[in-house]
């Protein structure tokens, strides 16, 4: 179970904003799926793949993330050798910053790590995959960089592979996000269906080279500056992953991917195969279903007390649903309380929200209502 790679989770380049949910926390620390935070999925995947040395590079607002990860114990990463390392980075005073800069500021860490390869993952990925297979693929092909991608049935946004040779070599890639709306023009008539998953394998020595050269030129971004600009010079190979893997970059898809978990097949493959997803351990009793509870098609965390009706929803820990209350198509985070006869539908309620007696909150499925932490309605 030892593999010759360390993991780096890069929370610097793509700190996407999810409206109210990211005011107090980095995206990677946003709660997801009843009892997890987004970062748990990539972190657990790495641990289950045998990666024992993981560095996390994060910019500001990192307190809730650090509280969550603590000593790494819950991921079995509290180790005497290797383990979990969190690097809190700041852009320089004149605003320059980015992954490569932070890497160069912490080269010590890379040099001291004994593993030969680095698996780089972004912090917005929901998946449960075996990085060891990707590493095998990388070393067998003798690749400089391996890019993991997913094939879709239609065009997608984000970073896409636009040209792939028959033997799987990446000839060209584009970052479609850099083009503003409307996304029209000849470019968009091409095949833009191979979306980069935000997971890369590279040798440690090449990573250091790229980082130093880029920083010396004033560039900081791994994908744009390190990868895309060097496609012609390097052997970059693609690895196609067909399992469940999504990237969260908007409230809309955050809502949708949470709801995906209500599909029993996705629930099973995401939480059990190939390994378990770990998260910060929290004590709490089982969930209590009272006399009037009627819960259907929902995922419920422990320590809830439910005496109302819940349908097609995601309830985090210690949610209270009183008699006569109705929750439908919603995501209800920790310690939120829905009082008697209150109704919420198509909403995302952050932690410790209270919807008082008889109140109604109704959003749209494709535009769920978001209510910030601690709000009383």
């Amino acid at each position: 179970m030892n593999i010759n790679a360390m993991g780096i989770i890069n929370l610097a380049d793509k700190n996407k904003i999810l409206k109210g949910l990211t005011v107090h926390r980095p995206l990677a620390a946003v709660p997801f799926g009843c009892r997890y935070r987004i970062i748990d999925f990539v972190l657990s995947s790495m641990v289950n793949s045998g990666i024992k040395n993981i560095g996390i590079f994060v910019e500001r607002k990192s307190r809730s993330l650090i509280d969550h990860l603590y000593s790494g114990k819950d991921w079995d990463l509290d180790r005497k050798r290797d383990g979990l390392f969190i690097f809190q980075c700041n852009s320089s005073e004149n605003g320059y910053g980015g992954f490569f800069k932070y890497l160069c500021e912490n080269l010590d860490y890379l040099y001291k790590s004994k593993q030969e390869y680095v698996v780089i993952a972004e912090g917005n990925i929901i998946c449960n995959l075996n990085f060891a297979e990707i590493l095998d693929h990388h070393t067998k092909l003798n690749a400089d960089i391996t890019v993991v991608y997913k094939k879709y049935n239609s065009n997608v946004s984000g970073v896409v592979i636009t040209e792939l040779s028959d033997n799987g070599k990446v000839i060209d890639m584009l970052d479609l996000e850099r083009i503003l709306e409307p996304k029209a023009g000849r470019l968009f008539s091409r095949n833009l269906d191979k979306k980069a998953a935000g997971i890369y394998v590279i040798s440690k020595s090449l990573l250091i080279d790229l980082a130093q050269i880029c920083v010396a030129k004033g560039y900081y971004d791994f994908v744009k500056d390190g990868l895309i600009k060097n496609l012609s010079k390097l052997n970059v190979y693609a690895y196609r992953y067909d399992g469940y893997l999504v990237n969260i970059d908007s409230i809309k898809n955050y809502y949708r991917y949470n709801m995906d978990l209500l599909n029993q097949d996705i629930w099973k493959s995401l939480f059990f195969e190939p390994g378990l997803i770990y998260t910060k351990i929290q004590d709490g009793p089982p969930t209590k279903y009272m006399k009037n509870s009627d819960v259907k098609d929902s995922l419920i965390a422990n320590a809830c007390i439910i005496d109302g009706v819940v349908e097609n929803s995601i309830l985090f820990r210690r949610v209270k649903v009183h008699k006569g209350a109705l929750i439908k198509n919603s995501i209800i985070m920790q310690k939120t309380e829905i009082e008697q006869n209150a109704i919420v539908e198509n909403v995302i309620l952050d932690k410790e929200v209270k919807v008082t007696k008889g109140k109604k909150l109704i959003g749209e499925k494709n535009y769920p209502l978001v209510v910030g932490k601690g709000t009383v309605i």
Binding site: G33, C34, R35, L262, Q264, W267, F271, F272, L276, I277, Y278, T279, I281, Q282, D283, P285, P286, T287, K288, Y289, M290, K291, N292, S293, D294, V295, K296, D297, S298, L299, I300, A301, N302, A303, I305, V309, I314
Partner: protein, 423 residues
């Protein structure tokens, strides 16, 4: 080592034979309870919440699960630098090994361990009671009375008093008499099996008792009566609140059912006195579009496709479609197939019940080592059994066939009686 004012010793070595197949491979304190816990969680959490940070656990019978469950006590925040939890099995000394012969002998064999903390007071606890109690208050009582021994007592209904060890006390709560299961009880103060001793005094009594060939080396039968005879200052400390000795299948079942009340006496949701336990790593529970659940506790990792009424479901349980579970306890990682009926049963860890099985107390023709019905009609199915289709035949008695053939209306009426489904 740092001196401690008071340390606790938990008696967790008993076989718990009255729990039958529940304790076949498991010490009694390790039996699952309340949808998420094991019985010993309550006494360990009480220690932590009472500020007692040095705890010895005396194990003897099938300790493997208990050992790996307790570990160094992290789950109860008892992994402390000075003190913590210590597992104390019997061991071989220079002169050979000896199993624990009784509760008092178990403490006697660990005098050295206790002495290494030089405690003023020793708190003796049982590993198989369900309750929340602040031992620091009992200790304060002990000190304020200047007592040699304090025994915790609880008032039981007069009608039941003759089933308990009864303590007769004077106006000052000083004990002047013990009566074991008296026919005509003079008081209804029953001993809870929780003692505070002045350690130095107890040590002397233990050493004396060890020499006595006629002694059964038991606190209740030997040490305490001897002390009373010697006119030691023994006091009764009255506890108020929920307390249950879950030594029988019936009491274990009942204590689980007690949690399903609207406002149970034992509140697991009170964050001021949390009951800690080892947290399994399981995804959230999933209730499918066909699930119906009411008056139940359900834990993480469960998948519910059927109907669950007035039951306690532990983590990782799968419940198939059209299955109905009533008044039952389903322990971790059991897998209940489709169209199964379970009524007033305890299904142990990892049992697999095939589609269509029917498990109720009325089965008298079952021939299976891992199946047992107690005198109150609770069915118990032992750990890691597969109730396959072959077995299912023998599980179905004639009455059960009848039950199974009842139409949906009958079932609904039965469910409504039990608290009603919101249909």
């Amino acid at each position: 080592m740092v001196k401690k004012e008071c340390i606790a010793m938990i008696l967790a070595g008993g076989q718990g034979s009255r729990l039958g197949i529940l304790t076949q491979k498991l010490a009694k304190p390790a039996v699952p309870f309340g949808g998420k816990y094991r019985i010993i969680d309550f006494v360990l959490s009480n220690c932590q919440n009472s500020g007692i940070d040095t705890v010895g656990v005396l194990t003897q019978y099938q300790p493997l699960t208990l050992n790996s469950y307790i570990g160094i006590g992290s789950a109860w925040d008892l992994d402390r630098k000075n003190g913590g939890v210590f597992l104390l099995p019997p061991y071989v000394k220079k002169k050979g090994g000896e199993w624990y012969k009784g509760t008092a002998n178990a403490i006697f064999q660990n005098i050295e361990f206790i002495d290494s903390y030089a405690p003023e007071y020793l708190l003796i606890l049982s590993g198989d009671h369900i309750y929340k109690m602040d031992y620091s208050k009992m200790l304060d009582f002990h000190k304020s009375k200047g007592a040699d021994v304090t025994i915790a007592v609880i008032r039981v209904p007069w009608s039941e008093a003759s089933r308990f060890g009864i303590l007769n006390v004077d106006d000052e709560d000083r004990i002047y008499e013990f009566e074991e299961k008296p026919k005509k009880p003079k008081s209804n103060l029953a001993s809870m099996g929780i003692y505070v001793f002045n350690w130095k005094l107890l040590k002397a009594y233990l050493q004396e008792d060890e020499q006595d060939a006629n002694s059964s080396h038991d606190f209740g039968k030997d040490i305490n009566p001897k002390m009373l005879k010697d006119n030691c200052k023994m006091y009764a400390y009255q506890f108020e609140g929920y307390w249950k000795d879950v030594g029988t299948v019936e009491s274990l079942w009942q204590a689980n059912m007690d949690l399903l009340e609207d406002a149970p006496q034992l509140d697991l949701y009170d964050t001021d006195w949390p009951i800690y336990s080892v947290n399994p790593n399981q995804p959230p529970q999933y209730l499918s579009p066909k699930a119906k659940v009411s008056r139940s506790l359900i834990s993480e990792g469960c998948v519910v496709n059927g109907t669950v009424v007035h039951s306690v479901i532990f983590s990782g349980v799968y419940i198939g479609e059209d299955t109905v579970i009533i008044d039952s306890i389903i322990m971790p990682n059991a897998r209940i197939g489709k169209d199964v009926k379970i009524n007033k049963a305890i299904i142990c860890e990892g049992v697999e019940v095939a589609d269509g099985c029917c498990i109720t107390s009325e089965n008298s023709n079952i021939r299976c080592e891992q199946y047992h019905v107690d005198e109150t009609g609770i069915c118990v199915i032992g750990s890691n059994v597969e109730l396959s289709n072959a077995l299912k035949e023998c599980v179905l008695s004639s009455r059960e066939r009848e039950f199974k053939s009842r139409d949906f209306e009958t079932l609904k009426a039965m469910l409504l009686r039990l608290g009603g489904l919101p249909t």
